[in-house]
């Protein structure tokens, strides 16, 4: 669905062909998977949960258990209250979870199920039992995309668990939808500042773990519920996402913690590239009162050294990028600082802020002939890319058809990576993430050049 203007007009009905987005509950399930002992429960029909599991499994290559309240024909008529109750009971018996995250689907939303009331009833009728926290996020796919489900679920977890303010010296880290490798790297960085922290969500182990000796009902790892409870007493929260920062007050976990629990909030862009990462480190310096550890000063130095060594191969290069809006903004920031122009910045999302945020990180987009495409699908992207003939395409696996069509290298980032191994092990964030991205991008260009060359030199 092509909407070139920033305020999407739906006056013209158009098909979405090869969507560049996923549905809202997928994001919610992913976020809930980052809580220790959690089971996500989709309230709706079986198909949605099975498709979502399949999609996540194909990327993470790990078991992804998502329960479903399994609507039948009758349920749609009489409402899903009973199904919800049975589902919660069965989950408790079979999984003994520490947390249940309920997300709705289009079906339960359309018939108007009152999920908060169902949950309240359940708590009342099971008052004598030791129930895990039950969080609820409303995720109809006809408004929003998977990234909205993701942030909504994080917020719902905070809302369900955090009760008290306080004066702790730990920091809350709200990283957004990034890779398990990124999550591990972020934890390392914050620890190296000597900070205690709560990161939500943390699926770095639940969705990227070692083989098992025995079957785990729920994989190990994730943010413990009692840690989430401590988020109300943190010294500060750091929340990534320039687009997320534009959501109405109170609509993100960070904002909720600030509003209801007075936790100061740093709203930063995804730390991609030197500039955005410097801002992240500055925030950590401010919160910890310590300078950046030597290790990262050196990492940054090596990165800049690499920028210099490789600058000629990327200078003046053009790229088409796509994905979740915040990822696109992060990528644009990074590409801008190495001399690659992101001539097409596309997203299936349509927050209405993409253009402004890209402008913030790369400067005058009109002068640079940068096209911004909100609410885009892959046919739109292919049409424009064919026209613009970028040197590179950067995004997830689903852009492969575009890359193939215009014979351009695809550098895979983000989610989903369905046609390669190691999607969960990619780094995007921090100096280290930038280093990895930079090397991969330069090498993709070199490889193309080498392959296309009639000479085939074995030196650069």
């Amino acid at each position: 669905m092509l909407t070139t203007s920033e305020t999407p007009t739906e006056e013209r009905y158009a098909a979405t062909r090869n969507a560049c987005k996923l549905c809202t509950p997928l994001g919610a399930c992913l976020a809930f998977k980052g809580i220790r002992g959690a089971i996500p429960l989709l309230h709706g029909s079986q198909g949605c949960s099975t498709y979502i599991r399949r999609y996540l499994i194909s990327h993470f290559k790990e078991p992804v258990d998502i329960a479903c309240s399994n609507f039948a024909e009758q349920t749609a008529i009489f409402g899903g209250g009973l199904n919800m109750k049975v589902a919660l009971e069965n989950i408790n018996t079979q999984y003994a979870p520490e947390f249940i995250g309920v997300a709705t689907t289009c079906l339960s939303e359309t018939i108007g199920d009152d999920v908060p009331m169902f949950l309240k009833d359940f708590r009342t009728t099971h008052a004598d039992e030791d129930l895990p926290p039950l969080a609820h996020v409303s995720t109809p796919s006809y408004s929003g995309t998977h990234i909205d489900g993701f942030h909504g679920a994080v917020r719902a977890a905070v809302a369900a668990v955090v009760r008290e303010k306080g004066t702790g010296d730990h920091v809350n880290l709200l990283p957004g939808m990034v890779s398990p490798a990124d999550l591990r790297h972020l934890k390392r960085i914050v620890s190296d500042f000597g900070l205690f922290f709560v990161m939500l969500p943390d699926y770095s182990e639940t969705l990227d773990g070692a083989p098992w000796w025995e079957y785990h009902r729920i994989p190990e790892g994730g943010t413990p519920v009692d840690a989430i409870a401590r988020m109300g007493s943190a010294a500060a929260s750091i929340e990534f996402g320039r687009i997320l920062a534009e959501t109405d007050a109170g609509d993100s976990a960070g904002m909720l913690l600030r509003k209801d629990f007075d936790v100061p909030l740093y709203r930063l862009g995804l730390p991609m590239g030197v500039g955005e990462t410097d801002r992240f480190f500055a925030a950590l310096e401010a919160v910890s009162g310590r300078p950046t550890p030597e290790k990262y000063v050196k990492e940054r130095g090596r990165l800049i050294d690499a920028y210099v060594d490789g600058h000629k191969y990327v200078s003046g290069v053009t790229a088409a990028i796509y994905g979740e809006e915040d990822l696109v903004v992060g990528l644009a920031a990074f590409l801008g600082e190495i001399g690659i122009t992101p001539v097409l910045c596309a997203s299936g999302g349509k927050s209405g802020h993409l253009k402004q945020k890209i402008t913030e990180v790369v400067g005058d987009i009109d002068k640079k002939n940068i096209q911004i495409l909100s609410g885009a699908d892959f046919i739109d992207i292919a049409d424009i890319a064919e026209d613009l003939k970028p040197d590179l395409i950067i995004g997830h696996s689903k852009g492969y058809s575009v890359a193939r069509k215009i014979d351009t290298p695809l550098v895979r980032v983000g989610f989903p990576i369905h046609d390669r191994v190691g999607g969960g092990r990619l780094h995007h964030l921090g100096y280290r993430g930038a280093q990895e991205l930079f090397d991969r991008i330069v090498n993709a260009l070199l490889e193309k050049r080498q392959a296309d060359s009639g000479l085939g030199y074995s030196y650069m």
Binding site: A15, G47, R54, S58, P63, D65, V86, C106, W213
Partner: protein, 459 residues
């Protein structure tokens, strides 16, 4: 280890051979809160119709249902590839409130103009009925305007199981059948039903039949074309694979056009050969057909036998767990695994019926667990308890196997390698062998190698 509890309501859907008298409940709606490996009605319809490559497949509903089924199946086409595109009406909040009919009509028109398909299938997903869209009416209108068949597929996900989706797909196909010319069709002719050309399987099967001297009028739906399907009523026999999905269509065609049908499977040497002989037998007036079939089967088996024997050397005595969509496939797999010297310790399906499970019971050895609509916990419980070396299943079963240090063979629609026919049997053996005989399992905790302390000493 903590033992894994089986939910009370699920106990009747699991049975172990040799213990108690046979009883298994199936055809049951999945239990709320259990993590079923099943999909939905829509998924069933999509599986059946998806390979029709010159039709537009439009998913009417919010984006997810279409996004998750975009180009995920290995169904190949020798020509157009419209089926590999994902089209959705991508309903938005406003459409949900005011209805999606206008959008559906506009989107259909746009897609038909742009892609010039031979037909369009419009899949209703869960919320479509609830917001009150009359999809059939919109389809009729667009059909009149554009002059191609525009077929509603009533596949609201929650209205039944995958099987109902097969039915909805068969209904749509049935509407096209009977609209094409059949004057040039030979009396020795068949339709191949329930074969989806995963990794080119339909091509393999079609070649076999053609080598026998039998004309293949249409394949439904592998490498499918609308014009071929229109002529399907001219065939003398329907050859139906994968009992679940298309037997219904065969029955409908039998009633209306008097075309008899037989059920076959193309997996494994025995079943593949039987599928060819059964067809040859149907044409007794042409004894050359049977003669050619014998000749061909002999040749094909001889060609793969030495390799199979090699694979068998390593696989002898290994144990496999099978969990597939339809039970019919499980029968073939059990036989195929026997050829490789392997034993089946668990057999299950998402959608088997009573008859299927009785047949499974007869085929299995003592101790084999038979399970209907299993969830990941149950599957892993038996994989561990029975100490499987291999799991055969789909994408959702793979990580369960791998986490437990067990080999895996994908036997679902996503795979890219043909496993049907004689070459398919060879590929299957190779796949199984590749996984089971890999040296990596010795590092898996469950495979015994609880990596003992590695010691090194200086010289």
């Amino acid at each position: 280890m903590t033992s894994i509890p089986i939910l009370k309501e699920r106990e009747s859907q699991i049975w172990q051979k040799g213990e108690t008298p046979f009883s298994i409940t199936c055809d049951k709606h999945s239990l709320a809160g259990a993590i079923s490996q099943r999909a939905c009605v829509f998924c069933g319809s999509r599986v059946v119709l998806y390979p029709i490559a010159d039709a537009v497949h439009l998913v009417h509903g919010p984006i997810g249902c279409a996004a998750y089924t975009w180009d995920i199946r290995g169904a190949l086409s020798s020509g157009p590839e419209l089926h590999r595109l994902s089209f959705s009406t991508d309903l938005q909040e406003r459409d949900v409130i005011f209805g999606g009919e206008k959008k559906l009509a506009a989107v259909l028109g746009e897609l038909i103009d742009r892609h010039r398909p031979k037909a369009a299938f419009v899949y209703s997903t869960c919320i479509v009925g609830i917001i009150g869209d009359d999809v059939a009416a919109v389809c009729r209108k667009v059909e009149r305007e554009k002059g191609i068949p525009v077929l509603p597929v009533h596949s609201e996900g929650f209205k039944g199981t995958k099987k109902d989706g097969y039915k909805a797909a068969c209904d749509a196909l049935f509407r096209i059948i009977g609209t094409g010319p059949i004057n040039d069709i030979s009396p020795q002719s068949i339709n191949i039903l329930g074969e989806f050309n995963i990794g080119g399987e339909a091509w393999i099967i079609r070649k076999y039949y053609e080598r026998m001297g039998v004309q293949v009028v249409s394949v439904m739906t592998g490498d499918g074309r609308v014009d071929e399907i229109r002529r399907a009523h001219g065939a003398a026999l329907n050859v139906v694979q994968c009992s679940g999905s298309m037997t219904q269509l065969a029955q409908m065609m039998e009633e209306k056009y008097g075309i008899p049908h037989i059920r076959v499977s193309y997996f494994g040497i025995e079943d593949m050969s039987k599928a060819l002989y059964d067809v040859a037998e149907r044409f007794p007036d042409n004894p050359e057909i049977m003669a050619r079939t014998r000749e061909m089967v002999r040749e094909e088996i001889a060609a793969i036998r030495p390799e199979l024997a090699e694979f068998r050397k390593d696989l002898e005595g290994k144990k496999a767990a099978i969990y597939v969509g339809g039970a019919f496939k499980a029968f073939s797999l059990i036989k195929a695994l026997r050829h490789l010297g392997m034993r089946v310790i668990l057999a299950g399906s998402q959608t088997g019926n009573d008859e299927d499970y009785e047949m499974l019971r007869d085929l299995c050895d003592d101790g084999t667990v038979i399970v209907d609509d299993a969830n990941p916990l149950e599957l892993s419980k038996y994989i561990i308890e029975k100490d499987a070396d291999l799991v055969i299943g789909g994408v959702k079963e793979r990580p369960i196997a791998y986490k437990m240090g067990v080999g895996f063979c994908d036997h679902n629609h996503e795979r890219k390698i043909p496993l049907a026919g004689y070459v398919g049997m060879r590929n299957f053996a190779e796949e199984v062998h590749r996984s089971v005989s890999s040296p990596v399992w010795r590092f898996a905790p469950r495979r015994g190698a609880k990596l003992e302390k590695t010691e090194v000493t200086p010289c």
